[in-house]
Amino acid sequence: MSGAPTEVPARRRGSALLSTLIVTALLGTLVAALVLVVMSESLTSANHAAAQEALYAADAALEATISELQAADWPSLPGGFVSGRLRDGSADPRSPDGTRLDLARLMTLRQAESDARFGALPDRPVWRLAGRAPLRDLLPGLVVPTAYLLIWVADDPDERDADPQRDSNLIVLIRAEAFGPSGAHRSVEATLSLQVATPPVEDPDAPPPPERRHVRMLAWREARGTM
């Protein structure tokens, strides 16, 4: 083999390179489409799962609060109830994805949304934050922090006592919110009533039997609030 450089005519140069580039571009486009499909599907699945978990976390917070309300003092509930189970002392609450939860802003949004619905009347619901905590405070075995929970309480709008801080008809509104990863945010709202039944006295000499208290859910709604 001689060391002489091979001189190729101009019309014969680059055809292999061109073919390679065309094939590479074609396959690259297909692979990019595949990656795009897989990535978007993964993101969609993750977001859907996070939203579902947030909904059920909010519902769990609601149920936990209902169990606390069984023994609570209902007249003072709108103005004074504080959850014993959702009590996070941190000054800087954050959702699982690290987003800081601005509680003052959330309170303003909650009230504005409520006022738009019920009107700014003296008996309108005035919402108050009654509890907040990560979901793992309700489920101690939980390793991954899947949601941060907020509980809001307000008096129902049908009362005519002009005091939204005090309940006089044993009906209150509770709203539970859960903030999950990837911006997931779900809320549920319930109208609850306290049913009190006094068992009949069978033995007049015996001490009176304790009254039976039961919290009844009058209405449950999945709320679509703003954040």
């Binding site: 001689s2 060391g3 002489a4 450089p5 091979t6 001189e7 190729v8 005519p9 019309r11 073919s19 094939v23 074609l26 396959l27 297909l30 692979v31 489409a33 595949l34 499909v37 897989v38 978007s40 599907e41 969609t44 699945s45 859907h48 519902d59 619905r117 129902d156 709008p157 049908d158 009906i171 509104l173 549920v188 709202e189 319930a190 109208t191 009533s193 049913q195 039961h214 009844r216 859910m217 009058l218 209405a219 449950w220 709604r221 999945e222 709320a223």
Partner: protein
């Protein structure tokens, strides 16, 4: 050194050289096309799988949302409380103005759900009706009734009228044809099935009928009136199963001194439903949901066992859209055309259990 000299193009090619060049070109292009086709198939399969998952999510989300809310009644007003206190908010049948199933019928591939929307209004009849075709004169000044207009009711709205604690289960769902603010009256688009007394509740309602269009392989959702549209395509199976409180007193008792389809007059009210034994929820079979006792008015009758429903299981099965991704066998409800085991996307089946939140308190008043 002298550069190597190529033959001049004008020298031409021999036939053998042309054939060899053509064969090599065909082979190379064939390999390239095969690679591209394989990659294209993989991409299409990924897209098809993603589409299958997405359709499943859409169907499950819609069913879950409506079943969770099923039975939601007025949170305030004159008689707040879940609708299951008065009638069964989930029926195993198609209801509505078009193609409704017969009363007391059961089909496991359809379910009718009603609930009051979150921004809905509620009021009562200010005076009783004298004929089923009469307008409904409502009280626009009650709590739960927005002050603007006639409780916010407008022509085209779907409303429900029922008489709580009387003739248990008697109700009518209708579309408002006209409103008259001067007389505070609503005119239904068709005569109701019966008359209602003063004090009967009138409220906004959402009606959803999920049913399977088997020939078209579509999950349909019907609003009980005019809209019956496909929600998801390529759905090959849909099943609802109902689970109830086994206690005989699983339905909400009537007001003191009254009786209804589920209770004879007390005190305390005597359940007409049988005890199903144990404390865990019991699956209610078709026979139990059609054998009475029957509740309801002249139309829309239903089995009293539906008042004890606490959980509803839904099974959905979807298939890949393209027949080229389906094959033969148990994994496919509808046979496809693919013979390549590597290109099959089996049907996807999912079961969800939903405990309707507004139906959990029945049995307590």
């Amino acid at each position: 050194m002298t550069p190597k000299r190529w033959p001049r193009p004008s020298a031409g090619y021999a036939l053998v050289e042309l054939l060899i060049a053509a064969a090599v070109t065909i082979a190379v292009v064939g390999v390239m096309l095969r690679m591209a086709a394989e990659t294209h198939t993989v991409v299409r399969m990924a897209g098809e799988r993603a589409d299958l998952q997405q359709r499943l999510r859409v169907a499950v989300e819609a069913l879950r949302r409506d079943l969770l809310a099923a039975g939601g009644g007025p949170p305030g007003g004159v008689a707040p409380g879940p609708l299951i206190d008065a009638f069964a908010p989930v029926l195993p049948a198609r209801t509505g103005t078009a193609g409704a199933d017969a009363d007391l019928s059961y089909a496991d591939d359809r379910a009718s759900i009603v609930y009051m929307p979150r921004d809905g209004s509620v009021t009562t009849l200010a005076r009783g009706m004298s004929a089923p075709g009469d307008p409904l004169f409502i009280d626009p000044g009650l709590p739960g009734c927005p002050s603007g207009g006639l409780c916010g009711f407008r022509p085209g709205d779907r409303l429900l009228v029922h008489a709580p604690d009387a003739d248990a289960g008697a109700r009518d769902v209708f579309t408002v044809a006209a409103v008259d603010a001067a007389s505070s009256s609503l005119t239904p688009d068709a005569p109701l099935s019966r008359t209602y007394a003063a004090g009967s509740q009138v409220l906004s309602i959402v009606q959803r009928v999920y049913h399977l269009d088997r020939p078209g392989r579509r999950l349909m959702v019907y609003d009980g009136n005019r809209s019956d549209v496909p929600l998801v395509d390529h759905v090959v199976d849909l099943r609802f199963a109902y689970f109830g409180d086994p206690a005989a007193a699983g339905a909400t008792p009537p007001a003191p001194g009254r009786s209804n389809c589920a209770y004879a007059a007390g005190p305390p009210p005597v359940p007409r439903l049988g005890d199903l034994g144990g404390t865990a929820l019991v699956r209610l079979m078709a026979a139990q949901l059609t054998d009475g006792p029957a509740c309801g008015g002249p139309s829309g009758r239903f089995d009293a066992d539906l008042l004890r429903v606490r959980r509803i299981d839904v099974t959905l099965r979807l298939e890949a859209e393209g027949a080229e991704f389906r094959g033969a066998g148990a994994a496919f409800a509808n046979r496809g055309t693919s013979l390549d085991a590597g290109r099959l996307i089996p049907d996807l089946q999912i079961s969800i259990s939903v405990a309707p939140r507004n139906m959990g308190n029945a049995g307590l008043r």
